[in-house]
């Protein structure tokens, strides 16, 4: 790779002057669901004008977002996989994790409903029925928050979806939107967060088949990356952003965001001075 090294070094030398050096900006490692649904476009201008801090968002799967933050490539982590988030803090990479907001997952499917699950409330029963019928099911397969949640649901059933991998169980290994595109293209059921589904523009004849199960609860958390683990982070900016999100102004802004008249995220940060 000597050749690449030369290319790398000489380009760095050439372009170093053009490097973006914004001191009053923070980088948020986040999930595709929050970004694709337009939440940030709605929230960030309010925070930016109030604080003067520019917020840049990288939207990837939760697994990749956490990995990037572990590499110190981000100031704030905003994802939805509570056990992985708690591990991130326990390992010293985050200062503290706070519940931020929630919505829920739904299972969408074609109108024909080959597994006969439309209207079911029990998510695990629905998954079992899909496996029983060997109806196509498109999984994220990318270690994202949604994927982790889906696997935890499967683990409560008798079915090992891996046995149907490549047949009826199809792991796309891509983001939520790409998986919806693929799933809808092949007539497969897809488990998606409601925010992405509501704002998704290529629904075709698909409808929500399963919703309302407590197991489908989808909690988002916010974690400033620890300056002790990562000296390069903008700790002040990160804390200011996290504080604003859980403040009354931030929580109200989250609640006010709607697509097609539907609220996408429900704020549930613990209120200061109360027990809740």
């Amino acid at each position: 790779m000597a050749f690449s090294r030369i290319a790398l070094v000489s380009t760095l030398a050439l372009a170093a002057g053009a490097a973006v050096a914004q001191s009053d900006s923070i980088l948020v490692q986040s999930t595709t669901s929050t970004a694709n649904s337009g939440l940030y476009d709605y929230l960030l201008p309010a925070f930016e004008s109030e604080s003067g801090i520019t917020v840049n968002v990288v939207a990837v799967g939760t697994g990749q977002a956490i990995e990037n933050a572990r590499n110190c490539d981000g100031d704030v982590l905003l994802v939805h996989a509570k056990p992985a988030e708690e591990a991130f803090v326990a390992d010293g990479y985050g200062t503290a994790r706070t519940d931020l907001m929630y919505n829920d997952f739904v299972i969408v499917g074609p109108q024909g409903d080959p597994a006969g699950i439309a209207g079911t409330e029990d998510a695990q029963a629905a998954l079992s029925a899909i496996a029983e019928a060997e109806a196509p099911f498109a999984s994220r397969g990318d270690d994202s928050g949604t994927h982790k949640k889906e696997l935890s649901l499967w683990s409560g059933t008798e079915v090992d979806p891996a046995s149907g991998s490549g047949a009826w169980y199809r792991e796309t290994g891509s983001g939520m939107g790409a998986t919806l595109n693929a799933g809808i293209g092949m007539g497969a059921y897809v488990m998606t967060d409601r925010a992405t589904w509501i704002s998704f523009e290529n629904k075709q004849d698909y409808e929500i088949a399963v919703e309302g199960d407590e197991d489908l609860f989808n909690q988002y958390g916010v974690i400033p990356v620890s300056p002790e683990a990562c000296p390069s982070v903008n700790a002040e900016g990160a804390q200011a952003f996290a504080d604003w999100l859980v403040s009354e102004a931030g929580q109200d802004a989250i609640a006010a965001y709607e697509v097609d008249g539907q609220q996408l995220f429900f704020p549930n940060a613990p209120r200061e001075g109360t027990d809740g």
Partner: protein, 242 residues
């Protein structure tokens, strides 16, 4: 699933959208287009600065292991963008050896990745072009007793029109790739979003007509750059014979 006619309507819708995007001079679109051009043209320039002399040198030099070097150089033309992106990410990440530069998620990181991606293309193609040219002129060069540096210079000058096409091949690869810039740029709005990552984003939102419209604009852009180079070349050739 939909009727085929509906998909065709999407394409018509995309064409309409593309035209109205361009005509309205949409500020976000302009920003993305400018960044795409800036990143890919810079990468092409740097790749040429490295690849052309290297290609010329390998074209005229005879050394042990040259055959292997040629095979490796040609094979590197097939570098997968996503692998280049990963390698650059690992270097530029705060946890990586060059992390102190703070370049990850900047246009500079994207230029670095695209340069690595296309420098081998420029080097390998120019080597082939210049070697053929060298074979043609070998006797003449010998009779003039030129040094190797002079030969390289003469070849690069004489082959300049063919080398423009080489540069365009590199530019085409750079401006069209999404795998590398997605990883090292992060597709950050108003900072590192370029045409290809914007197209990937719109696709993942299910906004297929918008994604396709951006694709049409990107192709028009590539056409424009190629036409500009063609025009440059044509006028240069005219002047050469006046």
């Amino acid at each position: 699933m939909r009727e085929a006619t509906e998909s065709l309507q999407d394409i018509a819708e995309a064409l309409r959208l593309a035209v109205s995007l361009v005509l309205s001079g949409d500020a976000d679109l302009v920003e993305i287009v400018v960044l795409s051009l800036r990143v890919s043209l810079t990468a092409t320039a740097v790749a040429c600065a490295i690849g052309l002399p290297l290609g010329a040198l390998v074209a005229v030099a005879r050394f042990p292991g040259r055959g292997t070097a040629l095979v490796v150089m040609n094979a590197l033309m097939g570098l997968p963008p996503v692998v280049v992106g990963l390698i650059v990410y690992l270097h530029l990440s705060r946890a990586g050896p060059l992390g102190f530069l703070g370049l990850l998620y900047t246009p500079t990181a994207m230029i670095v990745a695209q340069t690595i991606l296309i420098a081998p293309i420029v080097a390998a193609l120019s080597r082939q072009v210049l070697e053929d040219l060298h074979d043609e002129y070998a006797a003449q060069f010998r009779s003039l007793c030129l040094t190797r540096a002079q030969v390289v210079g003469a070849l690069l000058w004489d082959g300049r029109y063919a080398l423009m096409t080489v540069a365009l091949a590199g530019f085409g690869r750079a401006v069209a790739e999404v795998g590398a810039v997605m990883i090292v740029g992060g597709n950050i709005d108003h900072l590192t979003r370029v045409m290809t990552t914007a197209i990937a984003l719109e696709t993942s939102k299910g906004a297929l007509p918008m994604a396709l419209a951006l694709g049409i604009v990107l192709m028009a852009l590539a056409l424009g750059v190629n036409a500009a180079v063609h025009g440059l070349r044509a006028s240069a050739v005219r002047h050469a014979y006046v």
